[in-house]
């Protein structure tokens, strides 16, 4: 009995020993010989690395409202070497259900809204280990793909932009194409907005699922800075509505309304009659994909008289009350100019000439200063020089030097013809005149904000162009325009308002003038000027004199004053009389 037992035990012992030898042999092979090599091979077979993009910064309005933000979308990619037939747990049947590649392709086609045959082709292309099935899908779609549990199909996060306010300030924000930012702040501040990508390394099992306990390394991505604009999105919308209404009313080619803070040079609104929705740039006419205030230069017209008057006051060749006999037509150096409507000779003050915007009177005043000085003043107020507000591209202005002027330009440049400028040039010029003669460069970027909240404000250098007294007198001249001159519709109850109308002839493609650019630019409140609003309509239909922009100005300016809690002062107008003598109501 004992013998049999012990014999059996010996056999068992032998088997156990044999297995032990086998196991330890294998253990020795794996652990003892080329340990590192084996481990490395195993790990590298499982390692997967995914790039983690740095989150692109937001674009915020002046109040911190998000105007453009990054959302996480996904590229759905396949590794055809791993893709194949597989089984899933079918909850309804309680069984393992086999799924073929064809079925996977069909299911994916439905989820991704792509062609099934095309997808099947990509899934079974053995030449590659990376095939993009669909680009930039939402997290919801990605989840549906994930739920299929198909092996070898991954989602790679890709940054995507959304613009919650749509076409509000769309042309300022710009947009991002498939290869990167294309226009506006997106392109201009790309360096600040874009972050540094990081990397995520982890191990995946044979089923393509991450192994929870294994290696996991992450090189963190660095997020981009936020860009806070000076734009007030609510005011921007209001201005867009107002200018769209005007442009629509006059069936004009385009319209623009720009609002700026006089003290800081901050542009609060830069509204175009039509604006691109950055999410769908292709659906808007090319003209409206970039800010018109920046891209369109035109002859400024009567608005340019402000430079002539400010210059004349600064040079001391006239005063607001100095009298002139103003004719309908005026000839100088063999060139005759005339006013918009015929009238008798009037005995007027300089203030009256400005208020009624008479070309003849303006030239009589401007001619007291030599051409070079006049040119220098135009240059100092920004004309003939590009204007950069931080939007990447510069606003253009063409002003030839006096030696290149033709016979008429010595006169026409005094009343805003014969040279061009953008809306921003007009706004900048009015800004320096109304801001005590100090130029504060216009800008649209308020600050760059780090991901940790540190702010880097954008600084600008101010520069004195006119004396304070010139500025004060100019404001009174501008008040005359609204009180009794060409812009009476601009008045706002309770506030002192000043401005300047402008109806410039617009040059056509083939030389001559074939349309008009109408503008009203004004400032308020005159007791302590804070805002400048400029409304422009280009090529309105109808004939000269049909167009009135002062009401749109008044609407936008009163909204601005109310939004920024500027109280009405109710103080008396300080405008000078327009005509010499008691009588002031001469016909136009």
């Amino acid at each position: 009995m004992n013998r049999i037992l012990s014999f059996r035990m010996r056999i068992g012992l032998a088997i156990v020993l044999a297995m032990l030898v086998l196991l330890s042999g294998r253990l020795f092979h794996v652990q003892g010989l080329d340990t590192a090599g084996h481990a490395q091979e195993a790990v590298s077979a499982r390692l997967a690395s995914v790039e983690v993009p740095g989150v692109r910064g937001d674009i915020l309005d002046a109040d911190g409202q998000v105007m453009a933000t990054a959302v996480e979308h996904y590229d759905i990619v396949a590794d055809p070497r791993i893709v194949g037939d597989y089984t899933v747990d079918d909850e309804d049947l309680g069984l393992q259900r086999p799924v073929t590649v064809e079925e996977t392709a069909d299911e994916l086609a439905e989820v991704l809204d792509e062609d099934a045959d095309e997808l099947l082709g990509k899934l079974t292309d053995d030449d590659t280990h990376y095939a993009v099935l669909s680009r930039s899908v939402t997290p919801e779609v990605r989840q549906e793909v994930k739920d299929l549990q198909a092996p070898g199909i991954y989602a790679e996060p890709v940054p995507e932009r959304t613009y919650p306010s749509g076409p509000v300030a769309g042309s300022i924000l710009g947009f991002v194409g498939s290869d990167g930012p294309l226009e506006g702040i997106e392109a201009a501040a790309d360096e600040h907005l874009s972050g540094e990508p990081g990397e995520r390394i982890y191990e995946v099992g044979a089923d393509g699922v991450r192994i929870p306990t294994a290696t996991y390394e992450e090189v963190p991505a660095v997020d981009g800075q936020d860009v806070r604009l000076t734009i007030d999105q609510d005011l921007q919308w209001f201005a867009q509505e107002a200018v769209a209404q005007k442009t629509n009313e006059y069936s004009a080619e385009w319209g623009n309304a720009t609002v700026a803070d006089l003290d800081t040079g901050e542009i609060l609104a830069m509204a175009d009659s039509q604006t691109v929705d950055p999410a769908e740039p292709g659906e808007t006419d090319e003209l409206f994909r970039r800010p018109l205030a920046l891209t369109q230069d035109f002859e400024p017209g009567s608005g340019g008289k402000s430079v002539t008057f400010a210059m004349a006051l600064e040079e001391g060749v006239t005063s607001p009350t100095e009298s002139y006999t103003v004719p309908y037509k005026y000839t100088s150096d063999g060139q005759t100019i005339q006013n918009a409507r015929s009238h008798e000779d009037y005995d007027m003050t300089a203030a009256g000439i400005y208020a009624r915007s008479y070309n003849t009177g303006t030239v009589m005043i401007g001619n007291q200063v030599d051409e070079q000085t006049r040119y220098d003043y135009l240059r100092q107020t920004g004309y003939g020089q590009p204007l950069d507000i931080g939007l990447g591209s510069e606003a253009k202005s063409i002003l030839r030097p006096p030696e290149e002027w033709d016979n008429r330009q010595p006169m026409t440049t005094q009343f805003g013809q014969g040279y061009t400028g953008s809306v921003l040039h007009t706004v900048q010029m009015n800004q320096m005149i109304a801001n005590g003669g100090v130029k504060q460069p216009l800008r649209i970027i308020d600050a760059y904000v780090d991901p940790d909240g540190t702010e880097h404000p954008v600084e600008s250098q101010q520069e004195r162009i006119f004396s304070e007294s010139t500025s004060e007198e100019m404001l009174k001249l501008m008040e005359g325009v609204v009180d009794y001159g060409s812009g009476q519709g601009a008045a706002i109850d309770g506030y002192r308002v000043g401005g300047k109308t402008s109806t410039a002839e617009a040059a056509g493609d083939n030389g001559g003038f074939d349309g008009y650019t109408v503008n009203f630019t004004g400032v308020a409140p005159l007791d302590d000027p804070q805002f400048v609003v400029s409304v422009t309509v280009h090529r309105p239909s109808g004939s000269f004199g049909d167009w009135e922009l002062a009401d749109a100005f008044s609407e936008i300016m009163s909204h601005t004053l109310a939004s920024y809690d500027v109280p009405p002062s109710g103080s008396e107008s300080e405008a000078y009389d327009g005509f010499v003598g008691e009588r002031q109501d001469y016909p136009w």
Partner: protein, 211 residues
């Protein structure tokens, strides 16, 4: 662990040849019995250890998968949150606010009357808002909120199941009523507080006091 236990078993079997040499001795069976008990104990200990290792292992693996699952839940909640934030941003856009206001029957404001407190002079007369004055809608709605946005969520519905306190319904309450915003004073943190304040008479500006 298993290598050790096998080694331990060897000395247990080593005495076996002795039993062939002296079968007549009587002391052996007692020794064997004692050794059998020892062996059983060792095996039991071994099984216990194995079982313990197995349980710990299963538990660790389970927790790891739980962590992965919770990470996934976290991720999907983050996405939902992002999607809802996007919805809020779209609803905060000026043109959406404008169209909501029109839906509620609101019209463009007319000018408010103002007077100088020191001199009691009227600076500007008040005007009644006209029911005809609706905001224009030249600026189209944002196209971002397209078909791929998450379906709107009724936040109040979720409040029922949420825990109380700072992280639960309280936080949800803050979400629903929104933050103070730039026009609210510090003591009236939410819009609801404004409405219930009797001195305000339903508006946001203090009503005149009668005493």
């Amino acid at each position: 662990m298993s290598v050790l236990s096998v080694a331990e078993m060897r000395p247990g079997r080593a005495p076996e040849p002795e039993s062939f040499a002296a079968p007549s001795l009587t002391a052996v069976p007692t020794v064997r019995r004692r050794r059998r008990g020892l062996m059983a104990g060792v095996i039991a200990l071994l099984l216990l250890a194995l079982g313990a290792v197995l349980i710990v292992n299963i538990h660790v693996a389970n927790s790891q998968y739980q962590v992965v699952q919770m990470n996934n839940t976290h991720e999907s909640l983050v996405h939902e949150n992002a999607s809802l934030t996007q919805q809020v941003q779209v609803l905060q856009s000026p043109q959406s606010l404008s169209s909501s206001a029109v839906t509620l029957g609101m019209v463009m404001p007319a000018s408010a009357g103002t007077f100088e407190l020191d001199t009691a002079a009227v600076l500007s007369g008040a005007e009644a808002a006209s029911s005809e004055e609706r905001p224009t809608n030249f600026v189209s709605a944002p196209s971002t909120a397209g078909a791929d946005a998450t379906a709107p969520v009724d936040v109040a519905e979720r409040a029922e199941g949420a825990p109380g306190g700072l992280l639960g319904a309280g936080a949800l309450h803050t979400l629903i009523t929104g933050d103070a915003g730039q026009n609210s004073s510090d003591e009236n943190q939410s819009g609801e507080a404004d409405r219930t304040d009797p001195t305000r008479g339903g508006g946001t500006i203090d009503a005149p006091s009668l005493d």
